[in-house]
Symmetry: C2
Subunit: 300 residues, 2 copies
Amino acid sequence: MKILSMRHLRYFDALARHGHFGRAAEDCAISQPALSTQIRDLEEHLGSQLIERGSRQARLTHLGEEFAARARDILRAVDELEEFVRARSQPVLGRLRIGIIPTVAPYLLPDLITALQDRYAGIELRPREAVTQKLVEDLQEGRLDAAILALPLTESGITGMPLFEEEFVLVRPAEEAHHPVPSAEGLRAMRLLLLEEGHCFRDQAIAFCAPAQTPPRDLIEGSSLSTLVQMVSAGIGVTLVPEMALPIETRSARVALQRLAQPRPSRVIGMVWRNSTPLADQMRDVGMLVREIMQDRPRA
Amino acid sequence: MKILSMRHLRYFDALARHGHFGRAAEDCAISQPALSTQIRDLEEHLGSQLIERGSRQARLTHLGEEFAARARDILRAVDELEEFVRARSQPVLGRLRIGIIPTVAPYLLPDLITALQDRYAGIELRPREAVTQKLVEDLQEGRLDAAILALPLTESGITGMPLFEEEFVLVRPAEEAHHPVPSAEGLRAMRLLLLEEGHCFRDQAIAFCAPAQTPPRDLIEGSSLSTLVQMVSAGIGVTLVPEMALPIETRSARVALQRLAQPRPSRVIGMVWRNSTPLADQMRDVGMLVREIMQDRPRA
DNA sequence: TAAAAATACTCCATAGGTATTTTAT
DNA sequence: ATAAAATACCTATGGAGTATTTTTA
């Protein structure tokens, strides 16, 4: 015998409880000789006698008593462990570590958290806001279960689903409300306020108004959409804002909104996860929740 | 797989620690496929996925993390259990529950306790004083490890060794010091003070002076040798006392001692234990200690 | 003699090995 | 193309069964 097995503990426990090889064997649903040999092997392995064998009854030695008590503790822990796993293995989501890019998080999270807590009672939510690159890293390293970000994503080992598409809307000072809607070229000539490096939305905006890799003429950076909108309302320049951010960011700002001409700029927001995760079904379910949230919102 | 085995826990623990099937298998000194199948069986048994299999690495699921933590606790408990048994399996006597008859206990116990504590460091001593019948019952029921009493003993399942032989000495009032030593028949005519029913020494004394089943003429009972000697010194009658009790019981009593004529009455004190006890070696050792104690005493 | 455990042996389930395939990067 | 794990298949260990012997009360 190489290692002390669970069987040894279970058999010994039964023997300790019954004090009788025959009845203990019956309890274990094995034959008496099978139990005898296992107990003998156990004692041999330990190098100590645990049972005092009388022909009338099998009595525990002092060491055997102590061994039995500890063995019982271990067996109880093992039973609890199995019970624990079964209790957790329902198709529910016990914990969700979800990352969301900064240009989506503030506008989606409140509704998403509410919906998730409705859908998965007792869920432990760990939302995290970070730029795409960080999210992908965390996902690949196993620190996140899912990420909501702009598609497409070329990383390997990661799959996902699109959630919704949203347009970019031009935000300009309130006094320009009646200026004509600029074309992409016209936009390039304006003073454009953008998010700092790292935000995918920055790249998307640049890609729209400067398709020939020529960066916009006059570019000023801000660290959040909120800041950008405030700067616009101060007359510093114009900016693009994703549709879903409008209700919140432009509510109290003195700015004018202009839907751009066709082809309108837009992006697809999707949810992704490791394609090796066992939570794929739940991830799709979470994705469906997001789609429902977005469909319930009035389009601007 | 019927039951969750220790092997499963050990293998899973290794896998959790290494996060890599190949290296974990190496750690367990088995092949990678062997580990893979065991882990698969474990997951099947539990009905839940514990490992998220990527081609780069094996990552634990959330459930897997919790399982690993609990499994580690269990494995540690098992290792401690083995360690515990090995620590206790030295050929020492950890606990000795020893019963001694009342006509021996007070005269042997002090020296015996000292000797045992010298011989077995840290021994837990549980001496118990009771008459032979009680001792034998306790021995057979496993409540005692050994008993010191008068031989022979006919009980089955019990074996032992003789320790020493001791004579019975006649104790009579001090004023009778110069009276002639009585024969057994003469003794029968005297007023004999004896221990109450149950004490083997009572039976032995009666057997000596009344071989023909005729009880002594005038018989008064006391509950201890000490009481009997005090009664003798008060002139109430005579009594027989085992040799080893003399130094203590007659030290301050005004009594005369008379060694009886051949064949002198005597008894053999021995130590007995269940012949199924695994402590037989130690019991013999304890017996040898008693013999040494008695040999060191000056014969009266 | 009777009851209980140990022994002898046989069988088979399964853990583990090697070789190979599959999968994902 | 490479690395890792899964699969296929075979072997052998050992756990469990039946029949029997030994032991002891």
